[in-house]
C-alpha cells in the first residue's frame, strides 16, 4: 500500500507536527523490507488495521498513523533499527506502554514507531543491593510485585502504574502521590542501558550510588524519548513501611486546607502523601464509589503517614490537632487497612468519576508553590466561568502538583479547542505564580508550544543543544518538547562580540 504525503491525522485540534519527509514516505516499502530483515517474524507491523492500536497514546485527542511499527525483541535489534534509521535519515518515535498523557508517544506519519513492549522481563532482583534490574517494558507495578514477597516495593507510583512501563517512567520522570517523601523516578534510578540514535549502546551508572562524570542518568530521566532509547533499567527498591494510616479531613475552604498542609510541613512532618480534592471532585468521587466523603466541605485532604506504628500513631494525633486549629470541620483517622484504602478509594477513582459525569475530560498537570493554591483556584474558577467549562481539581498538596480536570464534550464543535485554550491559560497561570508547566506528565506535544512561557529563547537553546549532542540529525521523537525544530549546526555557532574588556566595574585581583 502506498501512503501519501497528505496528513491522515485524525486530530480534531490544530497540532503542527514536523514537516513530513516525502522521500521517507515514498521509500516506505523499502524501509519496511529493510526493517523486516533486522527484525524477522511478526515484529514489523505495516497494515493499517494493525497499526491502528498505535495511532495514539493516553492523550487521545491526537491521533496519527505511523509510517510503520517495529517491535524488536533484543537490544541488538534496537541498535540495528536505530542505526538503520540514522543512516537513512528516518525519524523514530519510541513507545513504552503508550499511557503518556502529553502525547509523548504520538506517532509521526514519516516515522518508525519503535515499541518496547516485548522487553517485558525482570532481569534480576538484588536484595543485597536493594535494587531491581528490569527491561523497559515491565510495568511500574510489575517491579513492586516482583519484590513483594520479601516486603519491598518500588516507590514512585503514577496512577497508571498497573499499565505504564518503567521505560516510559524514565522517559517522563513519572511521579505519583508519594513524591514529597520518596521522590520521583529520577530519585530512584541507579542505572540505565541506552541505545543512541547511532545504534551505540551506552551503560550509565549501575548498582552503585552516584554515576561518574556528568549525570547522564539525571539527564536521560525525563528526556521524553528525545535523547536515546532505554533498553535496561536499574531502580532502587525500598522496604515497605511497617504501618500506614491515613487521615480524612474536611475543610470549609481550600485556604484552610492549604494552610493546614503548610503547618504540617512547618512542624517538620513529611507525610507519605497529602492529597487535596475540591468540592466538585469530592462530589463526583462520592457519587461514584461511596467512600463516605463529607459532602458539606469545600476541600478534602487525605494525609497518609507511614513508618513504625508508634511513630504513625503519634503523627496522626499531631496532624489531627493541626487540622483542628485550621478550622477542619471533620477529621477521621483510619484504624485499619480497610479504612485506609477506603479513604483512598474516592481519590483514586476521581478521574473515572469525572469521566462518568462528563463525555470527555482533559487532565492538566501544572505545579505551583503550595501557598499559591488559593489564588490559583480562585482565578481558575473565574476562567471556568469565562470559558463556560466546568473544572474539577485534585491536587498533590504535598508537592504542589495540581491536576485540574476540564470537563467538555468533544462532539460539540469547537469545545475541544476551547478546552485546550483554557488548559493553556491554567498552565500559564502556574508559571506566573512561580510554578511550572508540567509536574509529572511531561511536555510532549501537549505543552510544547507553551515552553516559551516558562523559558527564554536562550534557556531553550541551552536545552536544544543538549539534544544536538545526542542526536545531531534530530531524528529521535522530533516535534515533542520544543516548540520549533532547529538546525544543530546553526545553533552551535557562536557570535562573539566585543573583544576588549569594556567593564571597568568588575573587581579584579
Amino acid at each position: 500500500m502506498t501512503r501519501f504525503a497528505t496528513s491522515e491525522s485524525m486530530s480534531m485540534s490544530q497540532l503542527e507536527l514536523p514537516e513530513v519527509n516525502v522521500a521517507t514516505l515514498s521509500n516506505r516499502d523499502r524501509i519496511i523490507n529493510d526493517l523486516k530483515a533486522i527484525c524477522p517474524g511478526e515484529a514489523v507491523i505495516s497494515h493499517d488495521s494493525e497499526m491502528r492500536a498505535f495511532e495514539s497514546d493516553g492523550l487521545t485527542a491526537y491521533r496519527q498513523m505511523p509510517l510503520v511499527v517495529v517491535l524488536p525483541e533484543t537490544v541488538d535489534q534496537v541498535s540495528q533499527v536505530l542505526k538503520y534509521c540514522h543512516e537513512n535519515e528516518v525519524r523514530v518515535v519510541p513507545r513504552g506502554a503508550g499511557t503518556s498523557l502529553s502525547g509523548g508517544a504520538l506517532p509521526l506519519q514519516d516515522g518508525v514507531l519503535l515499541g518496547l513492549g516485548k522487553f517485558n522481563k525482570i532481569l534480576e532482583v538484588d536484595y543485597d543491593n536493594r535494587c531491581v534490574v528490569a527491561e523497559p517494558g515491565v510495568t511500574n507495578l510489575g517491579i513492586s510485585n516482583a519484590v513483594e514477597e520479601r516486603g519491598f516495593y518500588y516507590a514512585p507510583d503514577p496512577s497508571s502504574q498497573i499499565a505504564c512501563s518503567i521505560g516510559g517512567n524514565i522517559a517522563e520522570n513519572s511521579g505519583g502521590v508519594h513524591c514529597l517523601k520518596y521522590g520521583l523516578t529520577t530519585n530512584n534510578v541507579l542505572g540505565l542501558e541506552v541505545v543512541l540514535i547511532t545504534g551505540e549502546v551506552v551503560q550509565i551508572g549501575g548498582k552503585h550510588m552516584e554515576s561518574e562524570g556528568y549525570d547522564l542518568l539525571g539527564l536521560m530521566t525525563g528526556s521524553e524519548g528525545l535523547l536515546g532509547v532505554v533498553t535496561k533499567v536499574t531502580v532502587r527498591i525500598l522496604r515497605k513501611p511497617e504501618t500506614a494510616r491515613a487521615l480524612l479531613i474536611g475543610f470549609p475552604s481550600s485556604e484552610d486546607a492549604g494552610q493546614c498542609v503548610a503547618d504540617v510541613i512547618s512542624e517538620g512532618i513529611i507525610a507519605a502523601g497529602m492529597e487535596m480534592m475540591d468540592k466538585y471532585a469530592i462530589h463526583a468521587a462520592e457519587d461514584f464509589v461511596q467512600a463516605g466523603y463529607p459532602l458539606d466541605v469545600d476541600a478534602l485532604l487525605i494525609v497518609e503517614l507511614d513508618g513504625p506504628e508508634v511513630e504513625v500513631d503519634y503523627l496522626i494525633e499531631r496532624v489531627s490537632s493541626i487540622a483542628k486549629t485550621n478550622k477542619a470541620v471533620s477529621v477521621a483517622a483510619s484504624n485499619n487497612e480497610e479504612e485506609r484504602l477506603n479513604f483512598w478509594a474516592g481519590r483514586k477513582a476521581a478521574f473515572p468519576a469525572i469521566g462518568r459525569i462528563s463525555p470527555d475530560y482533559y487532565c492538566m498537570d501544572g505545579t505551583i508553590p503550595r501557598h499559591k493554591l488559593p489564588v490559583v483556584l480562585k482565578r481558575m474558577a473565574q476562567m471556568s466561568a469565562d470559558y463556560g467549562l466546568r473544572v474539577a481539581n485534585v491536587f498533590h498538596a504535598g508537592d504542589g502538583n495540581m491536576h485540574p480536570l476540564i470537563l467538555y464534550d468533544a462532539n460539540v464543535p469547537g469545545e475541544l479547542e476551547k478546552t485546550e485554550e483554557f488548559g493553556g491559560e491554567i498552565l500559564k497561570l502556574c508559571v506566573e505564580v512561580g510554578g511550572v508547566l508540567t509536574g509529572e506528565h511531561g511536555v510532549g506535544v501537549e505543552k510544547r508550544d507553551l515552553m516559551p512561557v516558562m523559558f527564554s529563547k536562550t534557556d531553550l537553546e541551552h536545552q536544544q543543544r543538549v539534544k544536538c549532542a545526542f542526536d545531531a540529525k534530530g531524528l529521535l521523537n522530533p516535534g515533542k518538547v520544543f516548540p520549533e525544530l532547529y538546525n544543530c549546526a546553526e545553533m552551535g555557532r557562536m557570535h562573539i562580540s566585543g573583544g576588549k574588556l569594556p567593564f571597568p566595574d568588575i573587581p579584579r585581583f
Binding site: G213, G268, T367, T438, F455, Q463, R508
Partner: protein, 391 residues
C-alpha cells in the same frame, strides 16, 4: 600572577565570560577554594571568583525551598536553615581536614563537586536536592533551568547535569534547593568487631529492614554503625527492632544522640583517616554488597587504611606510599564490579600522572565531550578539570 575577576553580580559574570571568550582565555572557576585541590590540574589564563554572589533570595521553610547565590558560604546557609529546624538532607561534608581548607566551602562548590554525606543511602545525593539553577554557560549567555518546585518535568533536567560538572559547563550564579526538616533526634546501633564481609551483610540487613536506617558505616576492626533518626518514641522503637534483627551478628551497643552525632560528623567529614598529608586519599563508589571484596582485593597489593560508608557502597581509602601502579590497581579492581574511584587528594609524587576521575567508556567519553562542547564550545570554563569525561 594571573588575573582574577570577582564579579559582584550576574551581569558582571556575563561580561567576564564574554571577555574570556573574545580573548580565548581559559578561566578557573573558584568559590572559597575549599575543594580547589580536587580535580585534574588545569592551564588557565585567568580566574573567575564567584564568592561575591551571595545572599538568600528566597527561603520559605513551609515550602521546603531555599534559593541563594552560588557564593554563599555553606556554613552560613546551614545556620539559617538550622534556625528553622531544617537542613540539606544529603549531609554535605566538610573536607577541611582532608584538604587543609579553612571552610566547608560555598554552595556553588557544593553543587559543582556534588559530594553527599552518610544520609545518601536514605535521602539521595546533592543532585536530588537541586531544583533550579541560573548560570552563565561557556557561550557567555545567562540561562535558567529547573524551577522552585519539587515536581517538575518541564524540559531537560539540566540542574542534574550541572550538579557534579566541576565548573566545566557553566558558572552557576544562583541555585534553588529542596530543603527538609532536621530529624528531631537520633541514635546509632553499633555492632562490635565484625569482619568486613560480615559487616556488609549486617548493613544490608539493616538497610533492608522496615526501620528506615538513615546511615550505615563500617570501620574495619572496630564497629559497624547504623543510624536511626526521627522523633524520640519512633527512634526508640526502631532501635529495639534493629537490635533484635542484628543481635545474631555480634555484640551490640547503642550510641545516644550526642555520641551518635559526633561519630557521624567524623564519618561525614572523613576525619577518621588522612592525618598524614603525604598519603593519597581515594573515594570509591561501588555496589554496596561488593565493598568488602573490593577492599580485600586492593589490600592484597597496596598498604591502605579504609572505612566504609553508604552501607558498603562508599569506600574511603588512604594509600600509603602511592605509586602510579596503585592507581591502576584500584581502578582495575573497580572495573570488574562497576563503580568508580576518585582521587580526592594526592601530592604531585603520589598522583604520578594518574587521572583524578575514573576513565569512562569510549561512548560515554564521546557524549561527555559533546555535552561540554554544547555548553562551552571554546573550552574556556575549567578546561581539563574532569579530563576523564572527554574534554
Amino acid at each position: 600572577m594571573t588575573e582574577i575577576f570577582k564579579p559582584a553580580n550576574e551581569q558582571q559574570v556575563v561580561e567576564a565570560v564574554q571577555w574570556a571568550l573574545a580573548n580565548e582565555t581559559a578561566m578557573e572557576l573558584v568559590g572559597s577554594r575549599s575543594r580547589q585541590r580536587i580535580g585534574n590540574a588545569m592551564e588557565t589564563g585567568c580566574g573567575l571568583d564567584l564568592s561575591d554572589l551571595t545572599g538568600i533570595t528566597l527561603y520559605e521553610p513551609e515550602e521546603l525551598v531555599l534559593a541563594a547565590g552560588a557564593g554563599c558560604m555553606l556554613a552560613d546557609i546551614e545556620k539559617e536553615l538550622a534556625d528553622k529546624g531544617q537542613a540539606f538532607a544529603f549531609e554535605p561534608p566538610d573536607f577541611s581536614h582532608l584538604l587543609g581548607s579553612k571552610t566547608s566551602g560555598t554552595l556553588g562548590g557544593m553543587v559543582a563537586c556534588s559530594f553527599a554525606g552518610p544520609r545518601r543511602v536514605q535521602a539521595g545525593g546533592v543532585r536530588d536536592h537541586v531544583l533550579g539553577v541560573r548560570a552563565i554557560s561557556g557561550r557567555g549567555e545567562v540561562f535558567k533551568t529547573g524551577g522552585r518546585v519539587v515536581k517538575n518535568v518541564t524540559g531537560y533536567d539540566l540542574p542534574k547535569i550541572l550538579t557534579g560538572s566541576w565548573g566545566t559547563l557553566a558558572a552557576m550564579t544562583q541555585i534553588t534547593f529542596k530543603v527538609l526538616p532536621k530529624p528531631e533526634t537520633e541514635a546509632t546501633l553499633a555492632i562490635i568487631g565484625l569482619e568486613n564481609d560480615q559487616a556488609m551483610k549486617a548493613m544490608s540487613a539493616g538497610l533492608g529492614a522496615p526501620v528506615d536506617v538513615s546511615a550505615a558505616a563500617h570501620i574495619p576492626k572496630a564497629r559497624t554503625l547504623l543510624r536511626l533518626e526521627g522523633i524520640a518514641p519512633s527512634v526508640a522503637a526502631r532501635i529495639e527492632s534493629l537490635k533484635t534483627l542484628l543481635s545474631p551478628f555480634g555484640e551490640l551497643d547503642v550510641l545516644g544522640r550526642d555520641t551518635s552525632r559526633e561519630v557521624w560528623s567524623k564519618i561525614r567529614d572523613v576525619r577518621l583517616l588522612g592525618d598524614e598529608q603525604d598519603n593519597a586519599i581515594w573515594r570509591i563508589s561501588v555496589p554496596p554488597s561488593e565493598g568488602a571484596k573490593v577492599l580485600a582485593e586492593i589490600e592484597k597489593s597496596i598498604e591502605v587504611n579504609a572505612f566504609f560508608d553508604w552501607g558498603g557502597g562508599l569506600i574511603w581509602l588512604e594509600v600509603l606510599n602511592q605509586t602510579r601502579a596503585c592507581a591502576a590497581e584500584i581502578r582495575g579492581t573497580i572495573t570488574a564490579t562497576g563503580g568508580h574511584a576518585t582521587l580526592i587528594r594526592a601530592t604531585e609524587k603520589s598522583q604520578a600522572g594518574s587521572a583524578v576521575f575514573q576513565p569512562q567508556s569510549s561512548v560515554l567519553t564521546m557524549l561527555a565531550g559533546r555535552l561540554k562542547n554544547s555548553f562551552d564550545p571554546k573550552g574556556i570554563l575549567n578546561p581539563g578539570r574532569m579530563q576523564s569525561t572527554g574534554e
